[in-house]
Protein backbone atom coordinates (compact mmCIF):
# COMPACT_ATOMS: atom_id res chain seq x y z
CA UNK A 1 0.00 0.00 0.00
CA UNK A 2 1.32 3.39 -0.97
CA UNK A 3 2.38 5.67 1.83
CA UNK A 4 -0.21 8.35 2.62
CA UNK A 5 0.97 11.86 1.84
CA UNK A 6 -0.88 14.74 3.45
CA UNK A 7 -2.62 16.96 0.93
CA UNK A 8 -2.74 20.34 2.61
CA UNK A 9 -4.45 22.34 -0.09
CA UNK A 10 -5.67 21.70 -3.65
CA UNK A 11 -4.57 23.67 -6.68
CA UNK A 12 -1.68 24.07 -9.07
CA UNK A 13 -1.23 27.87 -8.91
CA UNK A 14 1.38 29.77 -6.94
CA UNK A 15 -1.16 30.98 -4.36
CA UNK A 16 -2.15 27.35 -3.66
CA UNK A 17 1.52 26.44 -3.40
CA UNK A 18 2.19 29.28 -0.92
CA UNK A 19 -0.78 28.13 1.14
CA UNK A 20 0.52 24.56 1.15
CA UNK A 21 3.93 25.82 2.28
CA UNK A 22 2.49 27.76 5.19
CA UNK A 23 0.38 24.78 6.29
CA UNK A 24 3.07 22.16 5.92
CA UNK A 25 5.03 21.87 9.20
CA UNK A 26 7.94 20.29 7.32
CA UNK A 27 8.38 23.44 5.22
CA UNK A 28 10.72 25.80 7.03
CA UNK A 29 9.41 29.38 6.90
CA UNK A 30 11.98 31.80 5.52
CA UNK A 31 13.33 34.07 8.24
CA UNK A 32 13.31 37.68 7.05
CA UNK A 33 13.98 39.88 10.08
CA UNK A 34 15.22 39.95 13.66
CA UNK A 35 12.87 40.80 16.51
CA UNK A 36 14.13 40.09 20.03
CA UNK A 37 12.06 38.15 22.57
CA UNK A 38 11.98 41.26 24.73
CA UNK A 39 10.45 43.27 21.87
CA UNK A 40 7.85 40.57 21.21
CA UNK A 41 6.81 40.72 24.89
CA UNK A 42 6.55 44.52 24.64
CA UNK A 43 4.34 44.38 21.52
CA UNK A 44 2.11 41.73 23.09
CA UNK A 45 1.79 43.81 26.27
CA UNK A 46 0.83 40.93 28.57
CA UNK A 47 3.89 41.20 30.81
CA UNK A 48 6.92 43.47 31.19
CA UNK A 49 10.08 41.97 29.63
CA UNK A 50 12.02 40.04 32.26
CA UNK A 51 8.97 39.75 34.51
CA UNK A 52 8.17 36.21 35.68
CA UNK A 53 5.30 34.43 33.95
CA UNK A 54 2.16 34.43 36.10
CA UNK A 55 0.73 30.95 36.60
CA UNK A 56 -2.72 29.50 37.14
CA UNK A 57 -1.55 26.18 38.55
CA UNK A 58 1.72 24.68 39.89
CA UNK A 59 4.15 23.13 37.37
CA UNK A 60 2.86 19.77 36.13
CA UNK A 61 5.87 17.97 37.64
CA UNK A 62 4.82 19.11 41.10
CA UNK A 63 1.19 18.13 40.61
CA UNK A 64 0.05 14.66 41.37
CA UNK A 65 -1.76 13.87 38.17
CA UNK A 66 -4.04 10.86 37.97
CA UNK A 67 -2.94 7.79 36.06
CA UNK A 68 -4.04 8.45 32.51
CA UNK A 69 -2.89 6.90 29.25
CA UNK A 70 -3.64 10.10 27.30
CA UNK A 71 -1.59 12.24 29.68
CA UNK A 72 1.32 9.90 29.17
CA UNK A 73 0.86 9.91 25.41
CA UNK A 74 0.59 13.68 24.89
CA UNK A 75 3.59 15.73 25.84
CA UNK A 76 2.51 19.09 27.33
CA UNK A 77 3.76 22.33 25.77
CA UNK A 78 6.35 24.42 27.63
CA UNK A 79 3.67 26.82 28.84
CA UNK A 80 1.41 24.01 30.06
CA UNK A 81 4.33 22.34 31.88
CA UNK A 82 4.97 25.57 33.79
CA UNK A 83 1.27 26.31 34.44
CA UNK A 84 1.18 29.65 32.55
CA UNK A 85 -1.90 31.79 32.09
CA UNK A 86 -3.77 31.74 28.78
CA UNK A 87 -2.94 34.88 26.75
CA UNK A 88 -3.57 35.93 23.16
CA UNK A 89 -2.01 37.43 20.07
CA UNK A 90 -4.03 38.91 17.22
CA UNK A 91 -2.94 39.82 13.70
CA UNK A 92 -4.61 41.79 10.92
CA UNK A 93 -3.66 41.28 7.26
CA UNK A 94 -4.38 43.71 4.47
CA UNK A 95 -6.26 42.54 1.39
CA UNK A 96 -3.58 44.20 -0.77
CA UNK A 97 -1.35 41.12 -1.25
CA UNK A 98 -0.41 40.54 2.40
CA UNK A 99 1.68 37.35 2.68
CA UNK A 100 -0.94 35.65 4.80
CA UNK A 101 -4.68 35.82 5.29
CA UNK A 102 -6.57 35.18 8.52
CA UNK A 103 -7.88 31.77 7.36
CA UNK A 104 -4.48 30.61 6.20
CA UNK A 105 -3.03 31.62 9.56
CA UNK A 106 -5.63 29.48 11.35
CA UNK A 107 -4.97 26.44 9.12
CA UNK A 108 -1.27 27.01 9.63
CA UNK A 109 -1.67 27.04 13.41
CA UNK A 110 -3.50 23.72 13.45
CA UNK A 111 -0.70 22.08 11.52
CA UNK A 112 2.34 23.72 13.10
CA UNK A 113 1.57 24.28 16.80
CA UNK A 114 -0.01 22.37 19.66
CA UNK A 115 -2.03 23.54 22.66
CA UNK A 116 -3.64 26.47 20.85
CA UNK A 117 -7.13 27.81 20.28
CA UNK A 118 -7.42 29.88 17.16
CA UNK A 119 -10.24 31.97 15.77
CA UNK A 120 -10.74 33.78 12.49
CA UNK A 121 -12.94 36.73 11.68
CA UNK A 122 -13.22 38.59 8.39
CA UNK A 123 -9.99 40.53 8.65
CA UNK A 124 -8.25 39.35 11.77
CA UNK A 125 -6.92 36.22 13.28
CA UNK A 126 -6.47 35.46 16.97
CA UNK A 127 -4.60 32.70 18.77
CA UNK A 128 -4.92 31.82 22.43
CA UNK A 129 -2.41 29.64 24.23
CA UNK A 130 -0.24 29.48 27.34
CA UNK A 131 1.72 32.72 27.73
CA UNK A 132 5.17 31.50 26.75
CA UNK A 133 3.69 29.51 23.85
CA UNK A 134 1.94 32.66 22.60
CA UNK A 135 5.22 34.57 22.75
CA UNK A 136 6.95 31.82 20.78
CA UNK A 137 4.18 31.79 18.13
CA UNK A 138 4.10 35.60 17.84
CA UNK A 139 7.88 35.68 17.57
CA UNK A 140 7.86 33.07 14.78
CA UNK A 141 5.17 34.95 12.90
CA UNK A 142 6.86 38.36 13.18
CA UNK A 143 10.24 37.10 12.01
CA UNK A 144 9.27 35.00 9.03
CA UNK A 145 7.79 35.34 5.55
CA UNK A 146 4.26 35.18 7.02
CA UNK A 147 4.63 38.85 7.98
CA UNK A 148 4.97 41.99 5.89
CA UNK A 149 5.71 45.03 8.11
CA UNK A 150 3.49 47.30 5.97
CA UNK A 151 0.56 44.96 5.30
CA UNK A 152 0.37 42.87 8.48
CA UNK A 153 0.05 44.18 11.98
CA UNK A 154 -0.45 42.96 15.53
CA UNK A 155 -3.71 44.46 16.69
CA UNK A 156 -5.35 43.27 19.90
CA UNK A 157 -8.29 45.68 19.54
CA UNK A 158 -9.66 48.10 16.90
CA UNK A 159 -8.39 45.96 14.05
CA UNK A 160 -10.12 47.55 11.10
CA UNK A 161 -7.88 48.48 8.19
CA UNK A 162 -7.55 45.12 6.44
CA UNK A 163 -10.03 45.97 3.67
CA UNK A 164 -9.36 49.70 3.47
CA UNK A 165 -7.13 51.42 0.96
CA UNK A 166 -3.52 51.75 2.04
CA UNK A 167 -2.14 55.00 3.40
CA UNK A 168 -0.04 57.31 1.22
CA UNK A 169 3.17 55.81 2.60
CA UNK A 170 1.98 52.27 1.79
CA UNK A 171 1.13 51.15 5.34
CA UNK A 172 -2.20 49.55 6.21
CA UNK A 173 -4.59 52.05 7.83
CA UNK A 174 -4.65 51.90 11.62
CA UNK A 175 -6.84 54.34 13.51
CA UNK A 176 -4.74 53.83 16.66
CA UNK A 177 -1.50 54.47 14.74
CA UNK A 178 0.40 51.57 16.28
CA UNK A 179 3.03 51.42 13.57
CA UNK A 180 4.84 54.16 11.68
CA UNK A 181 7.20 54.32 8.74
CA UNK A 182 10.59 55.63 9.84
CA UNK A 183 12.83 57.87 7.74
CA UNK A 184 15.21 54.92 7.29
CA UNK A 185 12.43 52.97 5.54
CA UNK A 186 11.83 50.59 8.43
CA UNK A 187 8.43 50.10 10.01
CA UNK A 188 8.37 50.71 13.77
CA UNK A 189 5.88 49.67 16.43
CA UNK A 190 5.28 52.73 18.64
CA UNK A 191 2.38 51.18 20.57
CA UNK A 192 1.64 47.68 21.80
CA UNK A 193 -1.10 45.57 20.25
CA UNK A 194 -3.91 47.20 22.26
CA UNK A 195 -2.75 50.78 21.61
CA UNK A 196 -0.71 51.67 24.72
CA UNK A 197 2.41 53.73 23.88
CA UNK A 198 5.75 51.93 24.12
CA UNK A 199 8.83 53.45 25.77
CA UNK A 200 10.90 52.70 22.68
CA UNK A 201 10.29 52.17 18.98
CA UNK A 202 10.54 48.56 17.84
CA UNK A 203 11.73 47.97 14.29
CA UNK A 204 10.17 45.15 12.29
CA UNK A 205 12.12 45.83 9.12
CA UNK A 206 11.36 47.19 5.68
CA UNK A 207 8.13 46.55 3.74
CA UNK A 208 8.41 43.91 1.01
CA UNK A 209 8.74 45.08 -2.62
CA UNK A 210 5.59 44.87 -4.74
CA UNK A 211 6.85 42.02 -6.96
CA UNK A 212 7.81 39.91 -3.92
CA UNK A 213 4.37 40.51 -2.41
CA UNK A 214 2.62 39.25 -5.54
CA UNK A 215 4.89 36.21 -5.60
CA UNK A 216 4.45 35.35 -1.90
CA UNK A 217 0.81 36.19 -1.33
CA UNK A 218 -1.77 33.63 -0.20
CA UNK A 219 -4.77 35.59 -1.43
CA UNK A 220 -6.37 35.34 -4.83
CA UNK A 221 -7.10 38.70 -6.37
CA UNK A 222 -8.45 39.79 -9.74
CA UNK A 223 -5.48 42.15 -10.16
CA UNK A 224 -3.05 39.42 -9.11
CA UNK A 225 -3.37 35.65 -9.43
CA UNK A 226 -7.06 34.94 -10.02
CA UNK A 227 -8.75 31.95 -8.39
CA UNK A 228 -10.42 31.16 -11.73
CA UNK A 229 -7.00 30.63 -13.27
CA UNK A 230 -6.48 27.60 -11.03
CA UNK A 231 -8.80 25.00 -12.53
CA UNK A 232 -7.99 22.24 -10.04
CA UNK A 233 -8.74 24.50 -7.08
CA UNK A 234 -11.93 25.77 -8.68
CA UNK A 235 -13.21 22.23 -9.28
CA UNK A 236 -12.45 21.30 -5.70
CA UNK A 237 -14.25 24.34 -4.26
CA UNK A 238 -17.25 23.69 -6.52
CA UNK A 239 -17.37 20.07 -5.36
CA UNK A 240 -17.33 21.09 -1.68
CA UNK A 241 -20.00 23.71 -2.36
CA UNK A 242 -22.21 21.17 -4.11
CA UNK A 243 -21.83 18.53 -1.41
CA UNK A 244 -22.53 21.03 1.35
CA UNK A 245 -25.65 22.24 -0.41
CA UNK A 246 -26.85 18.66 -0.96
CA UNK A 247 -26.23 17.70 2.65
CA UNK A 248 -27.91 20.78 3.98
CA UNK A 249 -31.09 20.07 2.03
CA UNK A 250 -30.65 16.34 2.59
CA UNK A 251 -31.20 15.64 -1.08
CA UNK A 252 -30.29 12.02 -1.38
CA UNK A 253 -28.50 12.43 -4.67
CA UNK A 254 -25.35 10.46 -5.22
CA UNK A 255 -22.46 12.25 -6.83
Amino acid sequence: MAEYKTQYYPGVGKVAENRRNFMNPEYELEKQREVSDEDVALILGHRAPGEAYKSVHPPLEEMEEPDCAIRELVEPTEGAKAGDRIRYAQFTDSVYFAPSTPYVRAWMMHNRYRGIDTGTLSGRWIVEARERDVEKIASDLLKTEVYDPALSSMRGATVHGHSLRLLENGLMFDMLSRTELGEDGNVYYVKNQIGEPLDKKISVGKPLPEEVRKEKTTSHRVDGYKMRDDEELLKFVQRIHKLRAMAAYQLKIEE
Binding site: L164, L167, I194, G195
Partner: protein
Protein backbone atom coordinates in the same frame (compact mmCIF):
# COMPACT_ATOMS: atom_id res chain seq x y z
CA UNK B 1 -39.30 69.65 -1.80
CA UNK B 2 -37.72 70.43 -5.15
CA UNK B 3 -34.47 68.79 -6.21
CA UNK B 4 -31.62 71.21 -5.48
CA UNK B 5 -29.57 70.12 -8.50
CA UNK B 6 -32.56 70.50 -10.80
CA UNK B 7 -33.20 73.91 -9.32
CA UNK B 8 -29.69 75.12 -9.96
CA UNK B 9 -28.69 72.93 -12.94
CA UNK B 10 -25.64 71.75 -11.04
CA UNK B 11 -23.84 68.37 -11.23
CA UNK B 12 -22.42 66.15 -8.49
CA UNK B 13 -19.13 64.28 -8.59
CA UNK B 14 -17.23 61.96 -6.30
CA UNK B 15 -13.43 61.98 -6.28
CA UNK B 16 -11.87 58.78 -4.93
CA UNK B 17 -8.10 58.75 -4.35
CA UNK B 18 -6.60 55.24 -4.58
CA UNK B 19 -4.86 55.76 -1.23
CA UNK B 20 -6.16 57.17 2.06
CA UNK B 21 -4.69 60.65 2.31
CA UNK B 22 -3.05 62.26 5.33
CA UNK B 23 -3.53 65.79 6.66
CA UNK B 24 -0.82 67.44 4.51
CA UNK B 25 -2.17 66.12 1.22
CA UNK B 26 -5.75 66.79 2.28
CA UNK B 27 -4.92 70.40 3.06
CA UNK B 28 -3.17 70.86 -0.30
CA UNK B 29 -5.99 69.28 -2.32
CA UNK B 30 -8.83 71.04 -0.53
CA UNK B 31 -7.07 74.39 -0.90
CA UNK B 32 -6.60 73.74 -4.62
CA UNK B 33 -10.30 72.92 -4.91
CA UNK B 34 -11.26 75.96 -2.83
CA UNK B 35 -9.39 78.18 -5.30
CA UNK B 36 -11.06 76.50 -8.26
CA UNK B 37 -14.23 78.25 -9.40
CA UNK B 38 -17.68 76.74 -9.76
CA UNK B 39 -17.90 74.58 -6.62
CA UNK B 40 -21.26 74.97 -4.91
CA UNK B 41 -20.88 72.43 -2.08
CA UNK B 42 -18.11 70.19 -0.85
CA UNK B 43 -18.00 67.29 1.66
CA UNK B 44 -15.20 64.93 2.67
CA UNK B 45 -15.51 61.32 3.83
CA UNK B 46 -13.09 58.80 5.30
CA UNK B 47 -12.31 56.51 8.22
CA UNK B 48 -12.48 58.18 11.60
CA UNK B 49 -9.36 59.06 13.60
CA UNK B 50 -10.61 59.01 17.19
CA UNK B 51 -9.26 61.27 19.92
CA UNK B 52 -9.22 58.39 22.42
CA UNK B 53 -9.16 54.58 22.08
CA UNK B 54 -12.88 53.77 21.66
CA UNK B 55 -12.90 50.21 23.05
CA UNK B 56 -10.68 47.37 24.23
CA UNK B 57 -8.40 47.17 27.25
CA UNK B 58 -6.86 50.59 26.53
CA UNK B 59 -10.26 52.34 26.25
CA UNK B 60 -10.06 56.07 26.94
CA UNK B 61 -6.32 56.38 26.35
CA UNK B 62 -5.37 59.30 24.00
CA UNK B 63 -4.48 58.11 20.49
CA UNK B 64 -2.44 61.15 19.36
CA UNK B 65 -2.77 60.16 15.72
CA UNK B 66 -0.27 62.23 13.69
CA UNK B 67 -2.82 62.78 10.91
CA UNK B 68 -5.49 64.23 13.23
CA UNK B 69 -4.64 67.89 13.34
CA UNK B 70 -5.86 71.35 12.44
CA UNK B 71 -5.79 72.31 8.77
CA UNK B 72 -6.60 75.59 7.03
CA UNK B 73 -8.76 75.49 3.92
CA UNK B 74 -9.77 78.72 2.17
CA UNK B 75 -8.82 80.72 5.25
CA UNK B 76 -10.93 78.62 7.63
CA UNK B 77 -9.09 76.54 10.23
CA UNK B 78 -10.71 73.33 11.49
CA UNK B 79 -9.66 70.02 13.00
CA UNK B 80 -9.39 67.18 10.47
CA UNK B 81 -10.74 64.07 12.21
CA UNK B 82 -10.58 61.60 9.32
CA UNK B 83 -8.18 60.15 6.80
CA UNK B 84 -9.40 61.48 3.47
CA UNK B 85 -11.14 58.69 1.54
CA UNK B 86 -13.38 60.57 -0.88
CA UNK B 87 -14.44 64.08 -1.78
CA UNK B 88 -18.02 64.87 -2.76
CA UNK B 89 -18.56 67.97 -4.84
CA UNK B 90 -21.52 69.80 -6.27
CA UNK B 91 -20.45 71.84 -9.27
CA UNK B 92 -22.07 74.57 -11.29
CA UNK B 93 -21.52 72.73 -14.57
CA UNK B 94 -19.19 70.89 -16.95
CA UNK B 95 -16.63 73.72 -17.06
CA UNK B 96 -16.16 73.49 -13.30
CA UNK B 97 -15.64 69.73 -13.58
CA UNK B 98 -12.70 70.24 -15.95
CA UNK B 99 -11.14 72.71 -13.54
CA UNK B 100 -11.60 70.26 -10.65
CA UNK B 101 -9.95 67.48 -12.67
CA UNK B 102 -7.01 69.75 -13.46
CA UNK B 103 -6.63 70.68 -9.79
CA UNK B 104 -6.68 66.99 -8.80
CA UNK B 105 -4.14 66.07 -11.51
CA UNK B 106 -1.86 68.73 -10.12
CA UNK B 107 -2.26 68.03 -6.41
CA UNK B 108 -3.22 64.38 -5.92
CA UNK B 109 -0.23 62.31 -4.71
CA UNK B 110 -1.71 59.07 -6.09
CA UNK B 111 -4.10 57.82 -8.77
CA UNK B 112 -7.73 58.79 -8.40
CA UNK B 113 -11.14 58.20 -9.99
CA UNK B 114 -13.88 60.73 -10.65
CA UNK B 115 -17.49 59.57 -10.80
CA UNK B 116 -20.57 61.50 -11.85
CA UNK B 117 -23.75 60.70 -9.94
CA UNK B 118 -26.03 61.71 -7.12
CA UNK B 119 -24.19 61.72 -3.81
CA UNK B 120 -25.75 64.41 -1.60
CA UNK B 121 -29.32 63.94 -0.43
CA UNK B 122 -32.11 66.40 -1.09
CA UNK B 123 -34.54 65.64 1.70
CA UNK B 124 -34.28 65.90 5.47
CA UNK B 125 -34.08 62.61 7.35
CA UNK B 126 -35.66 61.82 10.73
CA UNK B 127 -32.17 61.96 12.25
CA UNK B 128 -31.67 65.45 10.81
CA UNK B 129 -34.96 66.55 12.33
CA UNK B 130 -34.17 65.00 15.72
CA UNK B 131 -30.75 66.63 15.83
CA UNK B 132 -31.24 70.00 14.18
CA UNK B 133 -34.97 70.64 13.84
CA UNK B 134 -36.20 71.94 10.49
CA UNK B 135 -33.25 72.90 8.26
CA UNK B 136 -34.20 75.91 6.15
CA UNK B 137 -30.95 76.24 4.23
CA UNK B 138 -31.11 73.36 1.72
CA UNK B 139 -27.40 73.64 0.95
CA UNK B 140 -26.59 72.07 4.31
CA UNK B 141 -28.54 68.85 3.58
CA UNK B 142 -26.22 65.96 2.90
CA UNK B 143 -23.21 67.72 4.35
CA UNK B 144 -23.79 66.66 7.95
CA UNK B 145 -22.45 63.42 9.40
CA UNK B 146 -25.46 61.34 10.54
CA UNK B 147 -23.28 59.41 13.01
CA UNK B 148 -21.75 62.45 14.67
CA UNK B 149 -22.94 63.48 18.11
CA UNK B 150 -21.57 66.98 17.81
CA UNK B 151 -24.18 69.72 18.04
CA UNK B 152 -24.37 72.36 15.34
CA UNK B 153 -26.96 75.12 15.10
CA UNK B 154 -28.12 74.33 11.60
CA UNK B 155 -31.89 74.17 11.93
CA UNK B 156 -34.76 75.45 14.01
CA UNK B 157 -33.67 73.51 17.10
Amino acid sequence: MEDFTKMTGSIQVEIIPHRLLGADSTERILNALAESEGIVRMAIHGPNLPYAVPYGPAKGMPVNHPERREITVGGITFELKICLGRILLELEGEDALEKVKEACDRMMPCKFSVKRGKFLREKMTTSDYAKYGIIRDKRILGLTDPRSNEIYELGSK
